[in-house]
């Protein structure tokens, strides 16, 4: 297990819809549920965060905002869509200004359904996200090694031709 899974810092963004899930996310931080005992901190800064928790659906106004927050997060990172609106648009999906769930704009790793999502299921969703985070970290390290390997392999023929020319 890496340190990533022991210290997930989240950034929470409340997109459109009724704000019910937003309040449930905040309930997770209260002494009743106390997510900090798992090392989870609500940072409020995308550059410090590992998990992007979004509640509510994508509309034409927040499309750019969600994209921007996601782009500012250092990799590896995961996205958790909390509540049915974030998953699919929910009851608002037919509205003229609603594009649908969060996955219309950014890749979503964990879907937490519910209206509103219960704090228990939100915590469960974040714990599931930790597994995905770990996977992404492993993949990132492997990609890095592969890139390094290719770089060395690329240099190899040059090296041979140089030594071949010498005598």
């Amino acid at each position: 297990m890496t340190y990533l899974a022991k210290s997930p810092w989240i950034i929470h963004y409340d997109a459109s819809s009724c704000n019910g899930c937003d309040i449930e996310v905040l309930a997770c931080l209260t002494p009743m549920y106390d997510v900090e005992r798992f090392g989870i901190i609500n940072t409020g800064n995308p550059k410090h965060a590992d998990i992007f928790v979004v509640t509510g659906s994508i509309n034409e106004k927040n499309r750019e905002v969600v994209r921007n927050i996601y782009d500012q997060m250092p990799r590896p990172n995961v996205v958790v869509a909390v509540g049915i609106c974030a998953c699919s648009g929910g009851v608002f999906r037919e509205c003229y200004n609603v594009a649908g769930g969060i996955d219309k704009v950014i890749p979503v790793d964990v879907y937490v359904p519910g209206c509103a999502a219960r704090p228990e299921s939100i915590i469960d969703g974040i714990v599931t996200a930790l597994g995905v985070l770990e996977e992404k970290r492993t993949k990132m390290v492997l990609d890095e090694e592969k890139k390094e390997h290719h770089r060395h392999a690329g240099m190899h023929p040059e090296h041979i031709s140089q030594t071949g020319d010498a005598p």
């Binding site: 890496t2 340190y3 210290s7």
Partner: protein, 287 residues
């Protein structure tokens, strides 16, 4: 006079002690708020995590300043624990703090700028009292060298209690505790984004956390100097002072920078200067 062994011990061991203090701090804070709280090893996991992340810097100088911050803070503490000149220690401390401000200014971000300006105001607020503390220790013990001050048999705390009170006041600023956690805060959502650390992420932020551990150990060492005539009393005082800081942190809302600046200068001018004047008049300086 300068003991290189202590300097090396500080550089190697201080992050471990500082991280553990931060973990205990979070646990006690959680209990004060009626929560269970994270493991006391949580700060180490946090920093380990930060070093596993991508180093997404805004520009190269930003990372350079973050590294300078940790290097000069480690130098400050190493010089202090090696028994060096306390004035030089204080100058190195200021230099380290300035590197953090420069790092925040290096990113073209309004949140980072606001944090950097607030950090500068905090430096203005605590600096006079830090200098007065050095002068007070000199008048009480007759030396600017930490090695001599630590070896004194004078009951320093009884000679300069006013200066000690002033130092306690600015310690809240230096440890980034409420009500003076103006430029950045350990508590979530108390900040315009994240103040001075807004634009730091991944390993750079990890270095800043480690710097804070160094700083905590150094500052508690400074507190110890006032009780150095009795080591057991000194260690007890350090523990009591840190518990007091945690208590203050959890019972106070953040104040505006105007109040932080004015009150710390007022405390320095009244408690610090009056104490120093009285020491000269009635005691004529020790040693």
């Amino acid at each position: 006079m300068i003991n290189i062994v202590w300097a090396i011990v500080f550089v190697l061991v201080a992050p471990l002690i500082g991280g553990l203090i931060a973990g205990i701090d979070r646990k006690i804070t959680a209990h004060m708020q009626g929560r269970v709280g994270p493991s006391i090893l949580q700060p180490f996991w946090d920093v380990g995590k930060l070093f596993e992340k991508e180093n997404a810097v805004v520009n190269e100088t930003q990372h350079f300043y973050a590294v300078c911050y940790v290097v000069f803070m480690a130098f400050t503490g190493a010089l202090f624990f090696a028994g060096g000149n306390i004035l030089l220690v204080i100058f190195a401390l200021t230099l380290a703090a300035i590197f953090l401000v420069l790092g925040a200014y290096a990113a073209n971000s309004p949140y980072s700028y606001v944090g950097a300006e607030r950090e500068l105001l905090q430096i203005m607020a605590y600096e006079p009292m830090v200098i007065l503390a050095a002068v007070g220790l000199y008048v009480a013990t007759g030396s600017f060298n930490v090695s001599d001050i630590a070896a004194t048999t004078e009951p320093v705390i009884l000679l300069i209690p006013g200066i000690f009170l002033g130092l306690l006041y600015i310690l809240t600023i230096k440890l980034r505790k409420s009500p003076f956690d103006i430029s950045t805060s350990h508590h979530a959502h108390q900040e315009i984004v994240k103040g001075v650390t807004t634009e730091f992420s991944g390993p750079s932020l990890g270095w800043i956390e480690i710097t804070h551990w160094y700083e905590t150990v150094f500052l508690l060492g400074f507190v110890y100097l006032f009780f150095a005539f009795n080591p057991l009393l000194g260690i007890a005082a350090v523990i009591v002072v840190y518990l007091l800081e945690i208590f203050i942190d959890n019972t106070n809302a953040r104040v505006k920078w105007q109040l932080a600046l004015k009150s710390s200068w007022l405390i320095a001018a009244v408690a610090g200067v009056v104490n120093l004047a009285a020491l000269y008049l009635f005691y004529g300086g020790a040693a």
